[in-house]
Amino acid sequence: MDLDSVDRKEKLSATRLQVSQYGVALVLVVLGCWLWRLQILGADTYRVLAEQNRVRKVPVLAPRGRIFDRYGRILVDNYPSVTCYLLREQQKDLDADLPMIAAGLHIPLEQIQDTLRNFQYAPKYQPIPLKQDITPDEQAFIEAHRNELPELETLDEQRRLYPKDGFAAHLIGYVGEVSENDLNQERFAAYEPGDVVGKSGIEETYDSILRGTDGSRDIVVNSHGREVGQMGQELAVPGQDLRLTIDLDVQMAAEKAMEGKIGSIVAMDPHTGEILAMVSRPTYDPNQFSVRLSSAYWKSIMENPDHPMMNKAIQAQLAPGSTFKIIMSLAGLQENVAQSLRVMCNGGGMFYGQFHACDKHHGMVDIQNAIPWSCDTFYYTLAEKLGIDTIARYGSSVGIGQKTGIDLPEEASGIMPSVLWKLKTQHQPWYPGEVISVGIGQGALEVTPLQLARAIGGIASGGVLARPHVVFADELRADELSAIRSTYPGSGDKTIPLTNANWQIITDAMAQTTAPGGFDTAAAAHMDGIDFAGKTGTAQVMSHSALARTGGGHSTVPNAWFVGIAPRRNPDIVVAVLWEHGNWGNNSAKLAAQVIDAYVTEQRARAGNLQKVAAAPKPVQTPDGAGGTAPAGQ
């Protein structure tokens, strides 16, 4: 027995020992191979993996470029703001923390849960923005609970700050997060979800210049994901500052003139096309868009029948009324029809079998009287003599019915009716009688305030029309400039034929419009000491299409137009005023006068040509109203 068992043991150990020896050796070899693989062959890969676990890239957002007026006065700035993000990389049960987060950040719990649901399928490493522009208290809450709520992270950024009261809001535009739709467009190829982009106005057009390049910091994090050090950083490149052609003084005057009204004012330097002021009313507060937009505010904007978001300077398409008579005069004079035309105005006349009224009995009217009197009968007659296609040719030559090519998004082109236009759009022949209402700026004719400013400013400049723009060309590189010009095509810079004699007739007649005595269309807007000329327009809003376009309908009071220039020939400024339901062009003329006065006063101040007086004495008036204001003792 004993021997037997010993025998068996020895026998067993001999074989088993060998087997286990080989087994152990094999296991060691396998382990050795794996060790070799891990430590030697895969060293770099695993080191990178380990580093990534330890080092995290945190974006450093580049501040957008600031925006200045033409003299370097600030219009748009940035302010430091903190956004709270939720990180989901932590090994944590987030749901249990949500009530505490909701209380600390003052967000309804359901809202956080909704946000989380929206990001359900987003990659885990993508931080979820919980709340923008948090208060110091909320930031203190996050910092005081870093241990309990390591999933909360804050990010400093420079946020856009726009002027209050919607000052120049339509011109400047606003920024917002890039939308999913945008990301699919080629233009936004370089953008990532969550990036902030310009959504309208200058912010949109010049987004690539204003935006800058985001940087990043490589931070070392501990096992809780908290920053404990910094490895390296790539500095953010701030966006380029932009200087606009806007003149803050002129803009301010235009904003004040339009307060509480509906419509638009656009002021331009006709020599260069530099926009000096652009106002649209009603307005909106772009600051509301730069942080999360409240639904109540959005609703109030969307439900406003006067379209606060619409930049009426370039998007309102309305009948120009009598302001179009300047373009009619251009056509009539250049066609050598108007010079010799004499019309007897008895409060209207019969054209194509229908009576068309004039607002007064002007008696015998020629071209010199017809402009300041704004005699409809004269222009009915002229329109009948010229015919629609000649009018359309001149209208198109000064840019009516085409975009001007201003460097702002969503410009409207307006309508210059013609035989071809009617056939194309309405598939109907042109009835000759329709030309009569076009002759006084009614009918199917539709213009934007900017088109009108450019056209009349161009005629007053002897036929030289400029491409309107809001940013100086020398602010841009050549490729940027050509990119902008091809993105916003339009009528652009051009010169139309206009004889000196005709130029003189039109501009002198425009000066008569605001001259005191005699003609009464805009004499109330007369300013002593400034060679202020212009043309009124009072456009009926009965047309259903026009009604639909303004979205109004709450009023059938006519739209008041005025296009003013100073001085009368080769003007330095042209101002187009559209006061919707302003009733009478003369009302708009007074608004234009305020803008022109602000401009001229500023120019005179810069040239040192203002009297330094504590209490401004009344300027001495010269009897004939010409020759300037000669103060006593000079």
Binding site: P99, T135, L161, A466, P567, N570, N587, K590, P619, G627
Partner: protein, 403 residues
């Protein structure tokens, strides 16, 4: 089969132990802190924080095992030091004896003044208590150990959930804020100091009423680094808690501003270093605030309201910058406003022109000039003397670019 187990008893036991450990570790790693692992349930009632925070079983066992040892070590180290001082380190006893006799006399005098100080201290404390009446209850605790790591600033206290301590409770000394309770165990609690890299608090600078965020750092410094440069902030200004962080009640002293320097890594912010009021390096006794009343006494409420009003005034940097931007409703008078006066006499067409509800806008009166210029009536030459589109005279010197 029976022989198999008897023969491999030792390896089997070893494997079983190793397996158990591995499984325990796996549980610890895979289901961290959050999950209610069996024994932690009782912690729910006592130690659970407002967010239902729990401590893992393993960790709790470890702490339970180590704490008595630490207590013994802490106590015995004091005793050993006493033995050393009392019996062994007698080398300079005689000289010291003479010295000490003089000291005793001096100390007796000092004692009197200390008694006075102590009374004053009590008075101050009552004063503090009066001002902060909404701190309703505190628990005094002794520091019994440190975390033992250079980078983390965590201390162990000798009171725990059994004494009413909960996570997030603020911890103070009579000098000022020290930190807050992190994890709580039945008889022990962790104190996270305000200079830890993961600590933070909302603060107010007392004289400028500017709100800041206090943060600790890996090097153990206390800083405010969310404020932009502000010339009003000066070293020496007192810093107190703002109450906005939902941890520290309002008005507890934190420290004074030690230095202000631009922070190159966080443009445009500045780094404001704070000297903590409490001596964080030598903490022995602390007070844990275990209860605050939700309703403030009238004086405290008034103080809070004042501070709130002041904070609202400069709460957002945005408001300060907004003042520099153009605004329609600013008081700054400009030429347009000055010239915007109505001239009703000249409003010849007001009968025709005015629409009910739409006021007529005033007409500006151009300012008097020194000499006629190109805008003056009659200054424009006839068309034949002009080149179309040309500027009549050179425009005044154009703007300088913004810097």
């Amino acid at each position: 089969m029976d022989s198999f187990f008897t023969r491999f008893k030792n390896p089997m036991v070893l494997i079983a132990i190793v397996l158990t450990q591995v499984i325990a570790l796996a549980i610890q790693v895979q289901r961290p802190a959050r999950d209610a692992a069996g024994g932690a349930r009782e912690m729910d009632a006592t130690g659970g924080g407002p967010d239902g925070r729990k401590v893992t079983l393993l960790r709790r066992w470890t702490i339970l095992g180590i704490t008595p040892v630490e207590r013994v070590v802490h106590g015995s180290s004091l005793k050993v030091r006493g033995v050393w001082d009392g019996y062994i380190d007698l080398r300079h006893t005689h000289q010291q004896n003479e010295q000490l006799k003089q000291d005793v006399a001096r100390l007796r005098e000092e004692q009197a003044s200390f008694a006075e100080d102590a009374a004053q201290g009590r008075r101050l404390q009552t004063l503090l208590a009066f001002k902060q009446q909404y701190v309703t209850s505190t628990v005094a605790a002794q520091v019994i150990g440190t975390s033992g790591s250079e980078r983390s600033h965590v201390l162990y206290l000798d009171k725990g959930s059994d004494d009413g301590l909960k996570p997030e409770q603020p911890v103070i000394t009579p000098d000022g804020v020290v930190g807050k309770i992190r994890d709580v165990f039945p008889h022990t609690a962790q104190l996270l100091l305000i200079n830890d890299a993961t600590a933070g608090a909302g603060v107010i600078l007392t004289s400028t009423r500017v709100r800041g965020i206090l943060r600790g750092s890996a090097t153990g410094q206390v800083q405010i680094n969310n404020l932009t440069a502000d010339s009003r902030i000066k070293p020496g200004e007192q810093v107190v808690t703002s109450g906005g962080d939902m941890v520290f009640p309002r008005g507890l002293p934190v420290g004074v501003i030690e230095s202000i320097a631009p922070d190159p890594l966080h443009q445009p912010y500045t780094a404001i270093r704070i000297k903590p009021a409490a001596n964080l390096a030598r903490l022995e006794e602390v007070l844990v605030i275990t209860g605050t009343s939700s309703t403030l006494p009238p004086t405290a409420a008034q103080d809070a309201a004042d501070a709130e009003a002041a904070a609202q005034a400069n709460q957002r940097a945005a408001d300060l910058i907004a003042e520099k931007l153009p605004s329609l409703h600013s008081n700054a008078s400009d030429s347009t406003a000055a010239n915007g006066a109505e001239k009703p006499a000249e409003d010849t067409e007001s009968q025709v022109g005015s629409v009910s509800g739409i006021p007529n806008s005033g007409l500006p009166r151009p300012k008097p000039i020194l000499h006629p210029d190109r805008f003056s009536p009659g200054a424009t030459p006839p068309a034949e003397d002009l080149r179309p589109g040309a500027a009549a005279e050179p425009l005044p010197a154009q703007s300088q670019k913004p810097q």
